[in-house]
Each structure stands twice: as structure tokens, then as C-alpha cells.
């Protein structure tokens, strides 16, 4: 009995020393961070720029190498990008957005995955030892209420991508809440950005909402002024939606860097809780609203975190 006890103690001590050495040596090694940044989605670019700025300020230059992959946001391109990073044996994978994160999860890498701008209702069910990150939820009821308070809406077009789980989830949320406002939801599914121009003329809508789908966000860029009020759940500076409601890029970056630093120091993702704080930005574009003869009441404007004149 005593023999087994000694063996057990020996193994335990060895394991602890190994774990300690392993995490310490992990922390001391130069790290290569692989990044999956879906292309042509300026919001993720903005978050990434903030992440880089904060990393430069917090991590000694030369401590990390960055390998950035900018795939087109479709499942195959995203998966290929993840595979490349795995093949290059990066130490950490950072994924921007829900679909890039799902692509990383599907490839089951050994490396820690840190996601930024992940949609919580979708990513919630994917929990494992090597995943953590910064997530958000979109208050569908709020954006519907704000849009409806500017104009009486009977038909609301929801632009989504059936291949992007976050946008499908949001579509279902609109389907649940819109009947309360006596609004009929018109589904506008697009798998490529150019499809919107083909589909939209067939649909009669009083207003449009672009979900957090990357494809929908790209389509928003090319969306010319049709006189239809537009709201979006993912911002885009080269478009002019009347309402934008989305998680603050700066805050997402702040929280992401804190997680990245902890992983670099040797903490396991399992030990770092996912961050789901409310840091939404609510932007009203008053200039565009006036062009469409829409009135944004003063009390609505007071709720905005930014007003574009």
C-alpha cells in the first residue's frame, strides 16, 4: 500500500513540475500568432487594428510574429486558411467573427483559439479546453424598435446568409419579435454579395436590416441609395445605414488583448473566462434620415453613442 502511495506521490510531483515547466517555457518562447481575418469586412479590420495597437504597447516588440490570413468569408476559404495556420504550426489562432471561429473549431487544432467578435448564441455551445474569446449578443428587439419608431414599417427585409449561423439566428429572432410590432419579415437570403441586387427588386420592403453576416456586410457596401431606410448589426463606413447597433470595436480589442496576453503568459484558454460584456454602439445617421424625410426624435438621439450629421 505504502509503495503505491509513494508511486502516486512521485507521479503527482513529476506532473506538477512538468506542467509548471511547460507553461513557463511556453511563456518564454517567441510566439507565432496566426490570424484569420475575413476579407472586406471593415469592422473586423478595425478591431484588428485596435488589437495590434494594444499588443504593440503591451508586448515587447519581437516577442511575437504574426501570420495573417484574409480569406473570403465563405466556409471553404475560411477552413483552408485555418488549415494553413495549423500546417505552419502557429502557437495561437485568433479568429475574427463567428464563421472564422467555427471554421477554426471544425479543424480541431491543438493550438489555443482566441475568438474576437464572436456571436454568443452560436458559439455558446462550442466549449472546449482550447477555446476562449470575446463575444457579444445583438439586441434584436432594440434595433426593431428604433427603426419602427422612425417610420411605420409593415414589411422588413432581413438580409442574411443561410450559410452563416449568426445571421440565421438573428433572422429567427426577427421572425419572433416582428409580429409584435405588426411587421412582416421578408427573408432576403444571399450567399454572395452580388445576389442582393438581383433579389431586392423582387421584394417589396419598407426597411432593410443587414445581419452580422460577412456576406451581408459586403453587400451593404454596394447598396446604392434606393430610398429604403437601412439598419445594420455590423457597421460599414462606406455605406450609410440610418441605424447601426454593434459591439464597440475598441472594447472588443481591449478585452481580446487581455486574453491574448494571458495565453502568451502560459494560461490555458480553459482558465480564461469568455468575455460577454455589453459594450454596444448605437449610431444614428441623421443626415441620411433627413434625406428620406424620416424624423429621429430628440429622445431617441439622446440614446445614441454617436450621431452622424
Amino acid at each position: 500500500m505504502k509503495f503505491f502511495k509513494n508511486i502516486f506521490l512521485y507521479l503527482l510531483v513529476t506532473f506538477l513540475i512538468y506542467s509548471f515547466y511547460n507553461s513557463e517555457s511556453f511563456a518564454q518562447q517567441k510566439k507565432t500568432i496566426g490570424i484569420i481575418l475575413p476579407s472586406n469586412v471593415p469592422y473586423y479590420e478595425e478591431v484588428h487594428t485596435h488589437v495590434l495597437k494594444r499588443l504593440e504597447g503591451n508586448i515587447i516588440s519581437g516577442d511575437i510574429d504574426l501570420l495573417i490570413q484574409k480569406p473570403y468569408p465563405d466556409p471553404i476559404a475560411l477552413s483552408n486558411a485555418v488549415r494553413k495556420l495549423i500546417a505552419l504550426n502557429v502557437d495561437i489562432i485568433i479568429s475574427y467573427g463567428t464563421e472564422a471561429t467555427l471554421a477554426a473549431i471544425r479543424e480541431k487544432p491543438q493550438q489555443p483559439i482566441i475568438f474576437v467578435g464572436g456571436y454568443n448564441p452560436v458559439l455558446e455551445k462550442y466549449r472546449s479546453n482550447n477555446i476562449t474569446g470575446v463575444e457579444f449578443k445583438t439586441p434584436i428587439l432594440s434595433i426593431t424598435r428604433y427603426l419602427n419608431s422612425m417610420k411605420e414599417i409593415k414589411t422588413l427585409g432581413v438580409v442574411y446568409n443561410p450559410l452563416e449561423s449568426d445571421s440565421v439566428y438573428q433572422l429567427n429572432e426577427f421572425l419572433k419579435c416582428c409580429p409584435f410590432y405588426k411587421i412582416t419579415v421578408i427573408k432576403i437570403p444571399i450567399k454572395t454579395a452580388s445576389e442582393l441586387k438581383k433579389i431586392l427588386p423582387e421584394k417589396k420592403v419598407d426597411a432593410l436590416i443587414f445581419t452580422t453576416s460577412s456576406i451581408a456586410n459586403i453587400a451593404l457596401s454596394g447598396f446604392s441609395n434606393t430610398g429604403i431606410p437601412v439598419a445594420t448589426l455590423l457597421p460599414r463606413k462606406d455605406a450609410k445605414p440610418i441605424i447601426s447597433l454593434y459591439p464597440s470595436a475598441k472594447k472588443q480589442a481591449e478585452k481580446a488583448v487581455s486574453i491574448i496576453q494571458n495565453v502568451i503568459k502560459g494560461k490555458r484558454p480553459l482558465e480564461i473566462p469568455r468575455d460577454l460584456s455589453a459594450d454596444m454602439e448605437l449610431i444614428f445617421n441623421l443626415a441620411e434620415a433627413y434625406k428620406m424625410n424620416l424624423r429621429i426624435s430628440a429622445d431617441l438621439l439622446t440614446e445614441a453613442t454617436e450621431v452622424v450629421y
Binding site: K137, L141, S142, A278, D299
Partner: protein
């Protein structure tokens, strides 16, 4: 000496009509302040008929003015020479102590309540279940001078062992109105909101889906709701008359219509004793009114 007497006499003769005129002027118009507890346009819409009603009954023009911010209320009351104001629980206590006003009547809500509670609310999907989960989050208060939108929460946090609530949160801010504190949580602009129960209930009445979106983590004891306090500078007969008109207006068909617009069933008597729970909260929150900086 003779010259001095003549000078004094002339001064009195000049000043006396001016003093009389200013008193006469204050009798020609009554100006009552409103705290910005909800959307100011909706609030003005609710109170305007009451102004007309009082003007008719008193034969003195009665006007309402919305005080831009809770924190300014005491200064504004003095600067604008107000005759009274509809205060919240905390601002009533501030006014009683600093302006020596007298609580006259309180509103009774349609559901029969005359009190309101403070709520600490979160989004149901926020993952915040208790005070421990609130650490490092963003909280939206209404104003430093509100009982249901600030004071009760500070007392609650201190009772739960958080000596410095402001450093417990990653960020805190003041929204200026209960409506806005509620919307901040609903929109995801704040993780936690401190807000008055009546405002939450009213919003849910208009938009029932909201009930599925928020959780109440803590609630205060019932606190006196909107109370009309009148300046003791106002003639006591006039104060009594105003009180009588308001207390009996639920028996007057015209008054009932005004009450309906106001979202109230009637006015009831108010007294300083009604505010004992607020004084208790001040103690729990370790706030001394004499030194308290209620302005932001």
C-alpha cells in the same frame, strides 16, 4: 440727520411698490418644476393638462417646467424662483433639507400604488445572476440624486460588502433618466441598470416582449413616488388651496380626465414621515446630505 431720514423715506417709497409688485407677480403665476424622470416630451404631454386644470381652479396661471437634470434641481429651484416641484424620493428629501419645502401630495398610480421600487436589472441573456457576476461590468445609474435610480443600489452594494461600488465596476455612468437607463440595458450599452419599477412596468405594458429580455437582480423597499413639494414662501392659504384642489380632483369629472392623462388615479396626502425609508437608505449608503455632492 434730517437728510438721512428723508433719504430712507424716499427709498421706502420707491421700494415698497416694487416689493408689492413682485409679490403680486408671484401670485399671478405659479411655476412648478418637474424632474426629468422619463422622456421629457411625453412627461410634458402628461402634465400640461394638470397645469390648465390648476390655472382654471386657482384662477392663477400655473405652468410646469422640466428641470434639465436631477443634480441641478436644488439650484434651479432657487434660480428660477419656483413655487414647488414634483420631486422623486431622493430629491424630495434634498429639497426638504436644503430648500425647506413642504411635501403636499403624492400621486397614486392607476394600479393603486403610491410608491415605487428601485430595480437592479440585467439582460436575461447576460449571464449575470448575482452581485458576484457584476464585478468588472458596466453599470448605468440614473443620477446621483435619485433613490430608485442610484441611492438604493449604493446601499445594496454596501450591504453586500462592496465598500467602494464605483471601483467594483469596470465602468459606470449616469443616463439622466430612468427610461434611458432601461434602454441602455436593453440595447446592450450597459450590463447592469438601476431603474425605477414604475418606468419598467410602463415600458413592459407598451412592449410586453421586454419582459422576456430583462431580469431583476435586486429590488428596494417601496419608496414614496412622485411627490409635490411646495415652497414655504408660497402663501399658506394658497398652498392649502392647491392641496385641496388636487386631493379632490378625482371626484371632479374634469379632474378625472386630467388624472387619466397623467397616468394616475388620484392625489393623496404627503408628509415628511413618508420619506423615512429614504433617510434609512442614506444611512446604509453612508451618505451625509450636508456634504453629499449630488451634482455630477
Amino acid at each position: 440727520m434730517k437728510m438721512v431720514s428723508i433719504f430712507v423715506l424716499i427709498s421706502i417709497l420707491i421700494l415698497f411698490p416694487a416689493i408689492c409688485f413682485s409679490q403680486e407677480k408671484s401670485k399671478n403665476e405659479i411655476l412648478i418644476g418637474l424632474i426629468p424622470e422619463e422622456n421629457i416630451f411625453r412627461q410634458m404631454d402628461r402634465y400640461r393638462p394638470l397645469g390648465d386644470y390648476l390655472s382654471n381652479k386657482l384662477n392663477i396661471k400655473t405652468r410646469f417646467t422640466i428641470l434639465s437634470r436631477y443634480g441641478d434641481i436644488i439650484d434651479r429651484f432657487l434660480i428660477r424662483n419656483l413655487d414647488g416641484a414634483f420631486f422623486g424620493a431622493f430629491t424630495s428629501v434634498l429639497a426638504i433639507e436644503k430648500l425647506k419645502v413642504e411635501p403636499v401630495v403624492r400621486l397614486q398610480n392607476i394600479d393603486g400604488t403610491t410608491t415605487a421600487e428601485g430595480y437592479i436589472i440585467v439582460r436575461k441573456d447576460s449571464g449575470i445572476k448575482d452581485i458576484k457576476d457584476m464585478k468588472g461590468k458596466t453599470i448605468a445609474f440614473v443620477d446621483r440624486a435619485t433613490a430608485t435610480g442610484f441611492l438604493f443600489a449604493i446601499a445594496y452594494f454596501k450591504e453586500h460588502g462592496i465598500a467602494n461600488p464605483f471601483s467594483y465596476f469596470k465602468e459606470y455612468y449616469f443616463t439622466g433618466s430612468h427610461d434611458s437607463a432601461l434602454l441602455s440595458v436593453l440595447d446592450g450599452r450597459a450590463d447592469i441598470g438601476v431603474v425605477k419599477s414604475t418606468i419598467v412596468r410602463e415600458r413592459i405594458r407598451r412592449e410586453p416582449l421586454i419582459e422576456n429580455e430583462i431580469s431583476i437582480i435586486a429590488r428596494s423597499m417601496p419608496l414614496p413616488d412622485v411627490t409635490l413639494c411646495l415652497s414655504k414662501k408660497l402663501d399658506s392659504a394658497l398652498r392649502d388651496k392647491i392641496k385641496r384642489i388636487l386631493i379632490t380632483m378625482d371626484r371632479d369629472p374634469e379632474g378625472i380626465k386630467v388624472l387619466e392623462r397623467l397616468g394616475a388615479s388620484r392625489f393623496i396626502n404627503a408628509s415628511k414621515e413618508d420619506f423615512i425609508p429614504v433617510y434609512n437608505l442614506l444611512k446604509k449608503a453612508d451618505i451625509n446630505l450636508k456634504t453629499y455632492r449630488y451634482k455630477q
